[in-house]
């Protein structure tokens, strides 16, 4: 951890947190992020991600371990001296102040002069295209407009670190996608280091440089979005990110980055060993629906093919989803692009499916 401590801008070093003295909400958290990074903490509710954010902001104290900001331990620094901007879940725009006063607040408490304040407020509002709304109260804005102002207030005093706690939680899908783009471009344009908390995986994948997947008080995997989706390191991540088929069995042979797994009903499949090291270990393999292949010609000749029975054919516009019965399980999903030459299938139809070994990851059981 010493290297990371030296180079990271934000560092969590063996941090633990308990609220009641009995249960650890955060267990042994280690994280190091460089300056300028957009990092997302993703996880189901109760996984400890918001607690981590609150500890970083200074509203909760770590029961063990150290948090460092730019090389300085900040455990004993009160929130208002940390210089960390924060965007809250429900905007937290002060209802008794106008938008301009809201933005002016952090500058006023820092004793900044009036003309300088006005200049910064104008720039910040223009950046989110809200220049015309400075004199309105938050209640006079629509939810979407408030949403645009909230991320503009936190960076207005030019903090080096901005924290965002599910800032897009209450938005409809379209506005959400638009705001995702605005927030990332705001962060990148200003060169701000950002920690973003969400339980929405799409948001995490599209916005972040790196994503930390939280579960049970620990980071399960910390990786760029692509790695997270393509190369999940354990069953939880595979299951949590994107759609996933899981099959359980025992490793039969293992040979470098190839292995075969005998499923519980006797079927043998190809896989790539990730969390397994020797034959005989139990494993849960993970394969993405879009990587399942029903046309053997597209697979290598020695690939294992397995029997499947179509249960349901679901038309989804741009894609087809086919629910299959595979190895005794009837929740196996195969996904196809809606292409001209793509044939449709009907329930009861028997097909043979397979996949490339590298698309099928043998993870922990």
């Amino acid at each position: 951890m010493n290297d990371a401590r030296a180079e990271g801008f934000v560092v969590f070093d063996r941090v633990q947190k308990s609220y009641d003295g009995e249960i650890l909400v955060v267990k042994d958290l280690n994280l190091s992020m460089p300056k300028g990074e957009f990092l997302t903490m993703l996880g189901p509710s109760g996984s400890g991600k918001t607690t981590c954010l609150m500890m970083l902001a200074g509203f909760e104290t770590a029961t063990h371990g150290e948090i460092l900001l730019d090389g300085r331990p900040i455990n004993n620094i009160p929130p208002h001296k940390r210089g960390i901007g924060m965007v809250f879940q429900n905007y937290a725009l002060f209802p008794h102040m106008t938008i301009a006063e809201n933005l002016s607040f952090p500058l006023e408490v820092r004793g900044m002069g009036k003309s300088e304040r006005e200049q910064k407020i104008k720039r910040a509002l223009d950046m989110v295209q809200m220049g015309a709304f400075g004199n309105r109260r938050p209640a006079q804005l629509s939810g979407g407009q408030q949403q645009r102002v909230a991320p503009a207030r936190a960076p207005v005093f030019e903090p080096e670190l901005v924290l965002m706690d599910e800032p897009l939680g209450a938005l409809d899908k379209q506005l959400r996608e638009h705001m995702q783009f605005e927030i990332t471009s705001l962060a990148h344009n200003l060169g701000i280091t950002t920690v973003y908390v969400t339980h929405d995986q799409t948001e995490a994948l599209t916005m972040s440089d790196r994503v930390a997947v939280f579960n049970d008080g620990r980071i399960q995997q910390l990786a760029p979005p692509e790695d997270l989706y393509e190369r999940p390191e354990n069953s939880f991540v595979a299951q949590f990110i994107g759609e996933n088929n899981k099959l359980e069995g025992v490793v039969e042979t293992i040979n470098g980055n190839r292995c075969t797994v005998r499923l519980d009903d006797g079927t043998v499949i190809d896989a790539q060993p990730v969390n397994v090291t020797k034959a005989g270990e139990r494993t849960r393999v993970s394969i993405r629906p879009e990587r399942v292949e029903s046309n053997p010609e597209r697979l290598s000749p020695d690939a294992h093919l397995i029997e499947a029975e179509v249960q349901e054919f679901i038309y989804m516009g741009d894609t087809f989803r086919i629910r299959l019965k595979v190895a005794g399980q009837d929740d196996f999903i195969m996904k196809y692009r809606n292409a001209q030459d793509q044939g449709r299938m009907s329930p009861g139809q028997k097909i043979r499916i397979g996949w490339r070994a590298e698309d099928c990851r043998a993870l922990d059981a």
Partner: protein, 425 residues
């Protein structure tokens, strides 16, 4: 239907022609009737128990038909007499007085008139009693002229003041009670201030107002931190605290006030303790009761829940994220409180303050029990007028002034803070 076969919807014209409104009204009528029936018992109760007494109070504050009822001839005869005249009224007026009092004596209503006039002119009862006794034997037709005879019975009949007062208060409706309520009189036929030794109401109104304001401020000072604590501790502690705040609420008002008596009196707990500590000499004990101090202490205690509860209900709705946001933006604890939290608790302060002030202004029992003469409120004076003097007019007039003052206050408050911003729970 003006619509064509291809258009199954009624045209806009049809809908805006009032037909839709009528249909809606018909559809809602049943609901409205049901709603009205549900609130009918309460509505009736309020009408009988609240609106009617207030109406009667308003009426009594101006009603003055006793004089015209009992002395109709005199009132009529006095019509031509000028109040500013330095001459006594002419003989026909004296004659009318004899006539009227003879009738009144027979119907035993003379003393009602005497009592009414005595509110304005001390000594009128004596005058009436003497006159009543004398005129009984007289014959209106033959025994005249009466002017000198009446003056013989009581020299007051020869005094211009008597006649001026009689004329001033002879109209069926009078502003006399309102004048009296603000320490003025028109016994001379003109409005003028009462002499200082009889002026008490303005002083009492003023005292009631400033003491209520002070009590209001004290409850705010004491209640704000409690409400803040209530709104910010864990639920189970908050419930316990809330019970402690409400506990005095559930105890009888009389018990609470009396216990203050036990604590504050000269031989009371606090004085004994201070003497024991040596802070106060035994022969120079503090007088903390039967004065303003006692009233302020006891009423602050009694009215505290009325401040705490609205404050609490408002504070509970202020999300902690606002203060957190302020801190993350660089505000220290005090700035975050003063610039972000406090402004958002103002509706609660407003609600609590208006509630406490209005209740305090009309408070009766506590000033009565622990106030003594110097801690008396206007309501105690009103009560006195009722059960000691029986002067209903002087119950109605200050009562109405109090009511109007509260309504004006409410209106001003609505203008400044906005009544919609008030949250009581």
């Amino acid at each position: 239907m003006t619509s064509t076969a291809t258009d199954p919807h009624p045209s806009d014209e049809e809908l805006t022609g009032g037909e839709l409104k009528r249909r809606l009204a018909r559809a809602l009528r049943r609901q409205k009737i049901r709603a009205l029936l549900l609130i009918a018992p309460l509505l009736l109760f309020i009408l009988l128990g609240f609106i009617a007494p207030i109406g009667s109070m308003l009426f009594r504050s101006v009603e003055n038909n006793i004089v015209t009822d009992i002395m109709p001839n005199t009132v009529a005869a006095l019509q031509t007499w000028d109040v500013d005249s330095t001459e006594l009224p002419p003989e026909p007026v004296f004659r009318a007085v004899v006539q009227d009092i003879q009738v009144a004596a027979e119907q035993r209503t003379a003393m009602q008139l005497a009592r009414r006039m005595n509110f304005e002119v001390p000594g009128f009862t004596t005058l009436m009693r003497q006159t009543q006794r004398a005129v009984r034997r007289w014959d209106v037709e033959t025994d005249g002229p009466f002017r000198d005879q009446l003056i013989e019975v009581s020299s007051d009949w020869g005094d211009l003041h008597t006649w001026r007062a009689l004329k001033a208060y002879s109209s069926e409706y009078t502003s006399g009670y309102y004048l009296a309520a603000v320490d003025h009189t028109m016994v001379s036929g003109h409005i003028e201030p009462l002499p200082d030794d009889r002026s008490i109401h303005i002083m009492l109104f003023w005292r009631t107002a400033w003491m209520s304001a002070l009590i209001c401020f004290m409850t705010l000072l004491l209640g704000y931190p409690v409400a803040f604590l209530l709104a910010n501790v864990k639920e189970r502690y908050a419930n316990l605290l809330l019970i402690m705040v409400l506990l005095p609420f559930w105890t009888s008002l009389l018990v609470r006030t009396s216990s203050w008596k036990v604590l504050l009196q000269e031989q009371g707990v606090i004085n004994d303790f201070l003497v024991w500590l040596g802070l106060v000499a035994d022969d120079n004990r503090l007088s903390m009761i039967n004065n303003k101090f006692g009233v302020i202490v006891a009423m602050t205690h009694i009215l505290l829940p009325f401040m705490v509860l609205p404050l609490y209900s408002v504070m509970k709705t202020v999300p902690p994220s606002y203060v957190r946001a302020a801190k993350s933006l660089g505000a220290n604890d005090w700035t975050a409180f003063w610039r972000v939290y406090f402004p958002q608790s103002i509706p609660g302060i407003g609600a609590g303050a208006i509630l406490v002030f209005i209740i305090a202004v009309g408070y009766y029992i506590t000033p009565e029990l622990v106030g003594g003469p110097s801690g008396m409120f206007i309501s105690n004076r009103i009560a006195h007028q009722w059960y000691v003097s029986g002067n209903w007019g002087l119950v109605g007039a200050p009562g109405t002034i109090l009511l109007v003052a509260v309504l004006v206050l409410y209106w001003v408050y609505d203008r400044v803070v906005g009544i919609d911003n008030v949250k009581l729970g």
